[in-house]
């Protein structure tokens, strides 16, 4: 049977970008469908009735939701092409732990920087940097989170790198000054085609954020 794979997403979504990177790493062909989050398609409501959120991966008509579950799915189905998770159960648990850590922190904390001002924003920036420092500690002197090979945790985090510029502009701070090793890692990831071609231009993301803030009534 010919494989039919659809990625339903919205271009600035870091969660969707994870999928673009994973699919590029594995060299899997797919159909890209852009979703309009202000006027959700019938398709989205049908394939993700629980959360009604992108990204959704549709494989031979069957939907899979939640980006890190999707990346694991791709890695299990296309297991012979560029493994993303380690095969050892302990190393796999460690990768899942850091993926989960990133999911629990980065999006929320980054958004807080953009939604707040003054003291509240200072707290948001501190929490965000604290999180990045924990990740920088885990990275240590390794090339990638899993060691020599780019993989699951790198994908989970680097998908947000396109948003770092927007966070910095909103919060008037430099992430590189605080976490130079982590930014060096992000730049290393960006040397990979799979990453460079999947991340939208960071100015475009910042412009999108400004439009969103205006639409939602944030100053």
């Amino acid at each position: 049977m010919a494989e039919e794979l659809v990625l339903l997403t919205f271009w600035p979504s870091a969660f969707g970008i994870r999928l673009k990177i994973a699919l590029a790493e594995k060299g899997i062909n797919y159909e890209y469908k852009e979703e309009n989050l202000w006027n959700k398609s019938d398709l989205l409501l049908k394939v993700n009735p629980v959360h009604k959120k992108i990204p959704v991966l549709i494989h031979n008509g069957k939907p899979i939701c939640e980006s890190l579950i999707q990346v694991q799915y791709l890695d299990e189905v296309w297991h012979d092409k560029t493994p993303l998770l380690p095969s050892d159960p302990y190393q796999k648990a460690i990768a899942r732990f850091w993926g989960d850590y990133i999911d629990k922190k980065i999006y929320e904390q980054g958004s807080q920087i953009c939604k707040t001002k003054g003291e509240e924003q200072a707290t948001a920036k501190k929490e965000f940097i604290d999180t990045l420092k924990v990740l920088e500690g885990e990275l240590g002197d390794k090339t990638y989170f899993g060691g020599d090979n780019f993989g699951y945790v790198d994908i989970a985090l680097v998908a947000f790198y396109g948003w770092f510029h927007a966070y910095e502009k909103c919060g008037d701070f430099s992430i590189e000054e605080e976490c130079p090793k982590l930014i060096a890692w992000a730049k290393r990831c960006m040397q990979k085609d799979s990453v460079a071609k999947s991340l939208p231009d960071h100015e475009k993301i910042y412009e999108f954020l400004l439009q969103m803030k205006e639409a939602l009534g944030f100053e």
Copy 2:
């Protein structure tokens, strides 16, 4: 090498109860260590320096954190004993999706019922019941979430069943009236030794909750 497995947890924790059930299902021997959350042990701070939370599973000296990651780890290492996750990648993604859904909703929503009053509590109850109805819909007429065999999603959810009585007492409502099929499923799970022996008495959990509310200054 003799396997050395330690479960560090705190008896009322539904997250820790998941591990007790999974370990019982697989018939794995382990050492149970009770943690004092009001005076965290050096061991806990050492094995989970990031979140400083129980449960922690320590396998041959190596810590694994986050309960659903731990259950997946047990299932991968002891793969020949009572599989908990399906082997098919799509069915596995579906199980992970529902495990994640339970993690995102049940604890927070249940706690909200216990921490609030009046209109705020009415909202918390509605949200909690809405979540359970989604889960009841997913269960449908199946014996367990995965079909005929008790597994990952059952473990993720039934670990909270011991807390349902406390939520009902705090919120003055009946979960069974709202979700009879889900409660029938929970009772079916309770017929299994692995579940019945792992869940603390629900009155004891309610008493613990009352003590916590008093200690934290909730009325």
